[in-house]
Amino acid sequence: MGADHVSTDTRAAESVQATLKSLVSPASERQREIRRIVALCIPFSILLVFSGVFPLTEMFRISFSESRLVTEGFTVEYYRTLVTDPYYRNIAFNTLWFAAATTVTSICVAVPVAHALEKYALPAKSVILTVLSFPNSLPGIVAAFMIIILFGNTGVLSNVFAFLSGQSRIDVAIATSVGGLFFAYIYSMIPRALLLLRGTYAEVNTDAEEAARALGATPLQTFRYVTLPQIKPGVIGAFILVFRTGLAIFGTVLILKGLLVWTLQIDRELAQGFNIAQASAMATVWFFFVFGFTVLALRYTSAEVSI
């Protein structure tokens, strides 16, 4: 047994040595190609390690620390707080339902919009496309400001609703309520969902749709039984992507403050007493939840995902 173990060890060491040697001085064309691939991947790996993996590991370590500012000892106290304290459970619940609700809403809006863009003859289409993709490059704080313009105390839609309902416009202004935050979320989510859905729509087989219509299906039936199954991977991909975005939104909530969500609480832990251990524990939970969610979703669905 022991001898076997040793020989496996030496064999592994030898193979590592051989690999390194082939990288430094390759003997065959295949080895040269591998050396090139490694060389091409090295710069990115360095960046990933120094600005991604290493900081995240340090964050993971301090979330178990007994001391507040340096990594010392081992305790799961911060995680226990997250699980047992109803305050944090409530925040987790808020975050999840709100992200899910806004995601579903923005996809329900984005599907008809993508449909119209792909199938209908629209005037000034390039202008429409620019308008629809413009919010993609706006940070969350600007999206929040847009909602203040629409639904704030002097907001345009507030004025309209005040006129229609006869109430004071301060009473109908919803910018800083949950409703305003809802619109702010979908302001940044709809363009993101569209980006993916338009790509999917471009690949839909229109022959099948025409055949369905010719055979007597109504437009709704055609959409339900012919188009929807074809765009399903795109819809699921958009759901994963937009849900991830929704969980990461922070600037918008920081301004509108309609609902206490996970990211806002992370900031509060830092702002009130610099409790970096608790903030790190929350960030770690966030990271593993989203990582696990993405991996599972990609593994068990037929989703198409890009940024």
């Binding site: 600005s51 706006l138 704080i141 900031d267």
Partner: protein, 277 residues
């Protein structure tokens, strides 16, 4: 026969108007506040339904020159500082992004899909990475170096995707083999033949990752501690602390920046990149 076509069904009659209505409402929802912000930034009051007192440049002057009240700074210094930080991020992105995009587009190797996933999916969003940076590099955060390396990781996916789309439209193997057979070494082929050919994607990727880095708020907010605020922090300070119309002017400065970038991308002719930004 005629009833088989069900021309009278609800969806045949109302489907298209309904979809068009959704499109119109979405366009209004996305574009109207942008227009209102820009218009109101030239107004002197906004107490009633619509802003009044056109046309004044007072708000723009407050933003561009600075009001001189308290710790208020002008947009100029923030813009220059952000430009520098974001440019630093772009340089790092070029060094790391172009090679890995080439590796994935040109070669077939074990674990290629995973490399691709890591290169084009952001590892962690700004706020999570910000907390990690605060813990790991507390001394760097005052100098801006932390911001640069953070930006470069956060925006690397956009660079990789833009460059990849350029590589995918080239016959890489043929180009590489031609250059090699004419006597160029592999590094020389990569640097003087492959990279110049992917110019469009590289420029588009640089512009996109620059804009998004200049606009990155969540990461900057957590990591930034003192000194000149980056552009996104400047916007935040204006939105939360300045008068409403000053904030509108500050946000408009940002809109102009994005508009310039969009035009620049259209000039390069990278339509895919224009949609993505």
């Amino acid at each position: 026969m005629s009833e088989r076509f069900q021309q009278g069904s609800l969806s045949a009659r109302y489907g298209r108007p309904f979809v068009k209505l959704v499109l119109a409402l979405t366009l209004f929802f996305l574009a109207f506040p942008v227009v209102m912000t820009f218009v109101s930034s030239f107004a002197s009051d906004w107490f009633g339904v619509f802003p009044t007192g056109f046309v004044t440049t007072a708000n723009w002057e407050d933003v561009i020159v600075g009001t001189g009240v308290g710790a208020d700074v002008a947009v100029g210094s923030s813009l220059v500082y952000s430009t520098g930080l974001a440019l630093g991020g772009v340089v790092i992105n070029l060094i790391v992004g172009v090679p890995i995009a080439y590796a994935v587009a040109r070669y077939d190797f074990w674990g290629r899909d995973w490399v691709n996933v890591f290169a084009i999916l952001p590892l962690a969003p700004g706020i999570i990475l910000g907390v990690a940076f605060l813990r790991t590099y507390p001394d760097l955060s005052t100098s801006g170096i932390a911001l640069i390396i953070g930006y470069s990781l956060l925006k690397a996916p956009y660079m990789v995707m833009a460059v990849q789309s350029s590589f995918q439209s080239m016959d890489l193997q043929q180009i590489e083999e031609s250059a090699r057979s004419l006597g160029a070494s592999w590094p020389r082929t990569f640097l003087t033949v492959i990279v110049p050919n992917a110019k469009t994607g590289i420029i588009a990727g640089s512009i996109i990752s620059w804009t998004l880095a200049a606009a990155e708020f969540n990461f900057s907010y957590i990591v930034y501690s003192r000194g000149t605020p980056p552009l996104a922090i400047f916007l935040f300070n204006n939105i939360t602390n300045a008068s409403f119309l000053n904030a509108a002017a500050a946000v408009s400065v940002f809109f102009l920046l994005i508009a310039l970038v969009t035009i620049a991308l259209q000039i390069i002719g990278n339509r895919g990149a224009v949609r993505r930004i």
